[in-house]
Point group: C2
Chain length 398, copies 2
């Protein structure tokens, strides 16, 4: 069966129905009317319209409660969203159903984002078309795209992204929409990972939380009352360039002492090389001997082997991340902090250090009920979040 593009919700009630079906599953018309506080007549006509638009469909009889047997309403089984997660060194693509469940396997290729938009988007679209063909989808209902840098959400373009040369102002959203013939939205990868956690991860049902990505870059997604907070210019959450020390190492952004200059991917590689040169880490020395170069992943490998100096590198980094997060907890008083991204896979030594600083340095009132946890979504957070972003737009009243 060839899936085709569906319409968009036309009224606030239709939008609420679609989000309720996405987040809580099929309901009868009567249940929908009760849940949303509208008359049964109104609900019946709204559901009919959603069916005409290709967004909803019948889903078998509801459990009988006496009287006339009613039919369950569900999201259309034809709905297909695409999530494209462009990272600094790879591209991931997934297809989801209307409820944001990933269909089949997420596709993944290594790709250096510095190769520029034509090359990287070309590869992302090729991967997407392959996946659409496998799932026999002509045109998806919408596609969400994430990139590892600041984005002007309203115009759908990257804005002066430090690690993405050639992408500044490139019309990524419109190019993807045109190529795939469906609605598209662009945001930065960290915001999308936060949305992924909100829909399918540990932040599910937590209305206000911070998602902190520690990978090649360090960034933060902010969710307030179930909505992504993007800031006035769309660049909220840029915590990688918060100063940690006044006279620290120079950062790619041109300033010095930024958090990312201490604990981003290239900072870890730099510290790993320094450890080998100083003769302080047998495990890292062996890895360098074997591979010819060292990356953040090698620090993780050395930590897994119990290398004391590698553990110290992670503790120092976790300590600095903790200072920054303690400031944000004092300022923002979130309900949950989720740590994700590649470096976060270092797991408990890192988490323990971050927690220690956050709990010691923040106002007791703000940390009394504040869990600080690791993401459990791995590489799925970005693609699921990208699909979630476009589903919000398709399910919202135009």
């Amino acid at each position: 069966m060839a899936h085709t593009l569906a319409g968009r919700a036309e009224t606030p009630t239709q939008a609420k129905v679609l989000k309720l079906l996405r987040d809580e599953g099929p309901f009868s018309r009567v249940q929908l009317a009760d849940r949303l506080g509208v008359s049964r007549t109104t609900m019946a006509s709204e559901v009919n319209r959603l069916t005409e638009l290709g967004l909803a469909e019948g889903a078998g009889p509801a459990a009988s409660r006496g009287g006339r047997r009613s039919t369950l309403v569900d999201l259309s089984s034809d709905l297909r969203f695409v999530g494209i997660d462009i990272g600094a060194t790879s591209i991931s693509v997934a297809v989801t159903d209307g409820r944001l469940a990933v269909l089949g396997d997420r596709q993944h290729v290594d790709m250096d984002v510095r190769l520029g938009p034509e090359h990287v988007l070309g590869a992302a679209l090729e991967l997407t078309r392959k996946l659409l063909a496998e799932h026999r989808i002509d045109r998806p209902s919408g596609v969400g795209v994430g990139v590892p840098g600041p984005v002007d959400f309203h115009s759908g373009v990257p804005v002066s992204p430090p690690i993405m040369p050639g992408w500044d102002g490139y019309p990524v959203r419109d190019a993807v929409a045109r190529e795939l013939g469906c609605p598209a939205l662009l945001d930065n990868d960290v915001n999308l990972m936060a949305l992924g956690e909100e829909h399918s991860g540990v932040a599910k049902s937590v209305p206000s939380f911070l998602f902190v990505k520690i990978g090649t870059g360090i960034g933060c997604g902010i969710v307030i009352g179930g909505e992504l907070y993007r800031g006035v210019d769309g660049c909220a959450g840029d915590i990688g360039h918060i100063r940690v020390e006044e006279f620290g190492p120079t950062c790619a952004c041109g300033n010095s002492g930024c958090l990312e200059a201490y604990f981003g991917g290239s900072a870890l590689a730099r510290d790993a090389m320094a450890a080998v040169r100083g003769g302080r880490s047998p495990a890292l020395a062996a890895l360098l001997e074997e591979k010819g170069e060292l990356s953040a992943e090698d620090v993780a490998l050395a930590v897994a082997q119990g290398d004391a100096h590698a553990v110290q590198i992670i503790r120092d980094g976790g300590h600095r991340v903790g200072w920054v997060l303690a400031s944000l907890v004092s300022f923002f008083n979130p309900g949950l902090i989720v740590i994700g991204g590649r470096v976060a896979r270092l797991g408990h030594p890192l988490l323990a250090e971050i927690r220690g600083v956050v709990y010691r340095r923040s106002l007791p009132l703000a940390t009394g009920n504040l869990p600080v946890v690791l993401s459990e979504m791995g590489d799925d957070a970005g693609v699921v979040g990208a699909a979630a972003m476009i589903s919000e737009a398709v399910y919202a009243a135009a």
Copy 2:
């Protein structure tokens, strides 16, 4: 005429009407119906109900547009709100009309908040009753109260406030409501100053901004989309205890290196004394000779006299405030930063230093359109904000 307690809005439409009348002045019923997108019949009955509730009243004929002459609707001229601003060293009280204009003069007494809730609230209520009698008000429509420490907004009590011994858990809101016989709400003074700026100050019509108070303590009010953001536990904005240096001076909160331990009121007094002892400030030495002690105000006086070391104290403090604000700009991407509070009266040397650091240290995208300005409301921000808080509740649908 004795003013009496009015009712509260009963429907979302009534609430919208009241806020529109408060913020933009009298309208005809037809204009109100058009502005809020409801039928004229519905609006007529909603306005009648607001009049019955004592919240709205007729306000003379509208300009004729042909056809039947219509009547303007305005807020009831009987509406009276009280704003009580309890600071670390003083109490201010004002009475406003329904549009939050201060009637007559704001009343002010010196009062040490450390004398405890019975004593301080007793003085605040005495001042309030005197003002109500002057304005011939039996019972105000509502009273807002601000205190200089963290507040559990939902239960209306201070929570472990560092500079308010004896106030922890004291039922301030309920005590004030009982004594004055009207609805009351309690929040921290900084949040209320932010509301004051939003309604009557430089932040008017700016939907998302930060208000930074620099006084005895240092705190931040966060407004997002026209609403105060209080955080999950109601303690968002506690920026005075953000770490500036790992091994800095000990703070009243028990940690070290907090912003407030460098630039709060007692930190400035400490630095002023040290300057005199070190023979570095003739102006501060003369002030100490004259008064027997030194406070933050004396640093301001010495700056006004052009004392070089006093200026340096302010520059150093402004530099540290700037570092913290740069972090918050990177994280939060606000549309405006307003600096208020006593120390902020130091004016341009302080502002210049703060601006320098914020503009240099934040992402260019976040500061391209970011004004950093001084408050122009002086001591009115707290009382107007307190009145604004309770007006929001009275004007909101129950």
